[in-house]
Each structure stands twice: as C-alpha cells, then as structure tokens.
C-alpha cells in the first residue's frame, strides 16, 4: 500500500461519489416522470430538454432557502442527524463490486470495487443499521411531536425489518460460502443467480430493503397526511437537501446491494464464451451492473406509485409475524438442502 494505491482508491471514491450524486438528481426526475406516467400525466417538461434539468432547478431553489433551526431544538444533534444519514447512505457502496474483470493502468491492476473487504455483507448490514440514528436523532432533536413520532416509527420499523433482512442474507451467505461480495458475485456465474437459488430470500430481502430505505409502501416515518413531514418537518434548505439526497442515495445503495446479492451483480450469462478482450469484458460487466441497478430503481419507483402506505399495525404484523418466520424458514431449508447435497 503506497501513495499510488491511495490515489487510485481516492479516484474511485470520487468517481463513484459523482455518479451517485448525478444519479440522485436524475432519480428525482424519473420519480416524477414515472409517477406522472402512471397517473396518465406528462410530468416535468419545461426546464431543459424534456424537463431533464428540473432537479437542478429544484436543488438551486432549495439551497437558496433560509436554513431554519427551531429555537427549542438541540442545535448540535439537529445538525448532526442529516450528516449521519448522508454518510451512511454514501459509504455503503464502498464494498459493492461494479465489475469482475480488472484492467491494468500505470502497471497496476485496477479492480472495479473500492474496498474488497472480506466481511462485505456485515459492513453493509452494520452501516444500514446506523442509518436509523440519522432519522431518530433528527426526529428527537427537532423538539416537535410529529418529528418525534416519525423518528420513533422509523427506529421501530428499521429494527424490525433489519432482522428479516439479515436472515435472508444468511441464505445467500450459506450458498456462496463467503461474506465477501466479490466471491458472492463470482458464485452466481451463468444463470445461477441467487434470485433463482433463493426465491423466498429474494422476496423477503427486497421487501425489507423497501422498509429499510423508508420507501412506499413503508414510508411511515414521513407519512405526510398524519405526521406533516415526519422526521424532517423542522428541516429546511441544505439540511433538508441532505435528507432528500440520503433517501435517494439509500435507494441506489439498496438497488446495488440487491443486484449484487440476488441478481448476479456484474455477471453476464455466457459472456466468457465470446472471448472478448479485457476492456470489452469490463465494459460489458459494468453495463450489466448498471442496467440491473437501473431496473431495480425502476421497480422501487414503480412499487411506490402502485402500493398504498401500510397502517402501522399492519407494518409491524408483516415484519414480525410474516417476514421473520419466512426468512427463518428460508435459512433452515437452505441449510438442509446444502447438507443433503
């Protein structure tokens, strides 16, 4: 590990960060477009070509607003909460492999993953659990009853669904025999995607991801009709923008993790039969990864505009009485099948 390695890693971080920020902006656009199409509308089409610059106009407007902190709020935690949210949302992508093939640049082998740690999944689960602090602290520090309720809901919801999420991941880990994300992806070569091997785990994991990212139908922490804006009621300007960014960045992360764990990551079936040069392999794998993530992002938005919000007791029922037993049963069945094989 010398200076060049550090520089290469830094370059990767900057590139990934930039791509995520850009994608968040365009996700806001696609979200509005998809919701419009589902409701037989056209959607934003005034700013830029077909409204593509709409999110940038929104961001500029948002940043020009006054940054308000309520008098009774805890100033320090009120500022800390959005930072926690965004840090967690952004750092999860560090262990996700974007392509399997590596290429050589400046006499060094460059892999397309920022940090190929051997406890990749543990790292992701640990970080996503941290995300709950951002929401809960923001709800508490605002000193507003609706924010507090939103924060409490988010903590209850995320803790409940983390169990199901962790248990469904165990199935994948058992199949692949490793916690390392690159190994898990390599194990899903050809059509042996974990979606096929672990259909039940796939569904529970996807549902739990929806709950973890606070997306509809599990967007209770920010349920507008009952809680004003939920945990971010008392936020404005830059801090609100950070929460907004974190929500969409979480969506990207969740899609990337789902792709990596269940949709075969960068795997393109039968790509090795074509005997392509290395650079073509890298591009094909990157493209496959991006397309899969884009599809998952579309599913996220599609579901949001299809399914209405759950009631709170339904949410808890689903989490503890349905998801948890199913995920547990999935672990047992997977273990039995692996033993018998």
């Amino acid at each position: 590990m010398d200076l060049t390695d550090i520089l290469i890693t830094l370059a990767k971080i900057v590139i990934v960060f930039g791509i995520v920020l850009f994608t968040v902006a365009e996700l806001v656009y696609t979200e509005r477009k998809i919701s419009a199409w589902i409701q037989n509308r056209i959607g934003p089409n005034r700013v830029g070509w077909r409204g593509l610059l709409q999110p940038y106009a929104d961001v500029i407007k948002l940043l020009l607003k006054e940054d308000i902190v309520p008098v009774a709020a805890n100033r320090f935690i009120h500022t800390l909460a959005p930072i926690i949210s965004i840090v967690v949302a952004m750092s999860t992508l560090a262990v996700v492999p974007f392509a399997g093939a590596s290429f050589t640049l400046f006499d060094r082998e460059i892999t397309l993953v920022i940090a190929d740690v051997n406890i990749g999944i543990l790292y992701i689960l640990a970080l996503t659990s941290m995300g709950v602090y951002g929401l809960t602290l923001s709800g508490w520090s605002s000193n507003n009853k609706y924010s507090l309720l939103g924060g409490l809901r988010s903590s209850a919801q995320m803790i409940s669904y983390e169990l199901a999420m962790g248990l469904s991941v165990i199935g994948v880990v058992m199949v692949a025999g490793s916690l390392q994300l690159t190994k898990i992806v390599e194990h899903q070569s050809g059509w042996m995607w974990n979606m096929v091997l672990q259909p039940v785990g796939f569904i529970t994991f996807v549902v739990a991801s929806f709950a973890e990212t606070n997306r509809a139908p599990f967007d209770l922490p920010e349920a507008e009709p009952e809680l004003v804006g939920g945990y971010h009621t008392e936020y404005s300007s830059f801090k609100f923008a950070l929460f907004f960014l974190a929500e969409y960045a979480n969506m990207i992360t969740a899609s990337a993790v789902i792709t990596t764990l269940y949709l075969g990551g960068w795997q393109v079936p039968y790509l090795e039969l074509l005997n392509l040069p290395v650079w073509a392999n890298v591009i094909a794998q990157l493209l496959a990864f991006v397309l899969k993530v884009a599809f998952m992002l579309f599913v996220f938005q599609w579901v949001r505009w299809t399914v209405p919000r759950f009631r709170y007791d339904q949410l808890m029922d689903l989490g503890w009485k349905v998801m948890l037993p199913i995920a547990l049963a999935n672990v047992v069945v997977t273990a039995a099948v692996l033993l018998l094989m």
Binding site: W37, I38, Q39, N40, R41, I203, W302, W305, V307
Partner: protein, 165 residues
C-alpha cells in the same frame, strides 16, 4: 344503542399472500404508463369553454360600435357582490339613455351571472374569458372601454341564453 353488522370481505389464500396481489397492481400501473396522457399543456394549449360557461361579464357592443346598455342600473342593483357601478346619461340615440360610466370591479365579481339574467336588453353577458390575473388593484377595475366586446364574439353565449330562457 342500535348497531349494524358489516360483512367483512374474507381474503382468499392467494390474496393473503400479498405478493401476487401486489404484482397484479404493478401490472395495472405498468399498463397505465402507456395510456394516452390526459395533460393539457396550458399556456400553449388553451381550454375553450362551452357556451354555458360563466366567465368575466362584458358589455355587448353593436355593429355600429355603440353599447346596447341603456343604463337602467338593474345589474348594479342585483349584483350580490356590489361589483358593478353604473352612471346614466342622456343621448340623442333611439335608446335615449347610455351609461356615462360603467365599471365592474373584477376583484369583487363572483361570476354568478345575475347581471346577465336580470338585463332587459341582453346588454351584459358572461363571456368565455377565464384568464384574469392582476398585479395592481387599479387593473382589476374594468371600465366601459375594456368591457365592450363586439357582438359577433358573444354569439354563442347569446344563442345559449335565448335557447334556455
């Protein structure tokens, strides 16, 4: 206390599984995405109201350029929002009287159409204008020159009024 029993709809096994039902819903929304869009691109594409529409009240201007109004003041009298002011004056024309001043305060007008209903001369009718935005109070008070509208433009409304008298 009286009570009613509501028959609760029992879910079938497949409906209780959630996932197939959600997939059905997703299929429905996906189909909606490719339907015809209902949006009207407003400033470029304007809505043309039907003749029954009550837009801004206007004064009917005959082909010879004179208003029909005889300044009887009934519209001003019937107006529930007190939006109309009429001052009469005499003229050598056949109608003998004409409004020297005719003002409608569009901020007060509630588009009820009573003035049009009460007018004995069909001189004040509700037009199809619905775009009224003002930046100054003074702009919202329409004087006679602003209210006068050639009779050809108001043909549909006048026919509608006759048909439904």
């Amino acid at each position: 206390m009286s009570s009613t029993t509501v028959n609760k709809y029992e879910l079938t096994f497949w409906e209780k599984l959630y996932v197939p039902e959600i997939l059905k819903g997703m299929k429905l929304t996906l189909e909606q995405m490719f339907r015809k869009k209902e949006t009207r691109q407003y400033p470029e594409e304007k809505w043309v109201p039907p003749a029954s529409f009550r837009g801004a009240p206007v004064l009917v201007q005959e082909e010879n350029g004179v208003e029909r109004c005889v300044a009887c003041g009934l519209c001003s009298r019937v107006c529930p929002a007190l939006a109309i002011e009429v001052q009469a004056a005499e003229t050598s024309d056949e109608k003998e009287r004409f409004p020297a001043l005719f003002e409608i305060n569009m901020l007060r007008c509630i588009f009820c159409g009573f003035c049009e209903e009460v007018c004995p001369e069909e001189a004040i009718v509700m037009s199809q204008t619905y775009e009224m935005a003002f930046t100054k109070y003074e702009d919202a008070i329409f004087n006679k020159e602003r209210l006068l509208t050639p009779v050809e433009q108001l043909r549909p409304r006048l026919e509608y009024l006759r048909a439904h008298r």
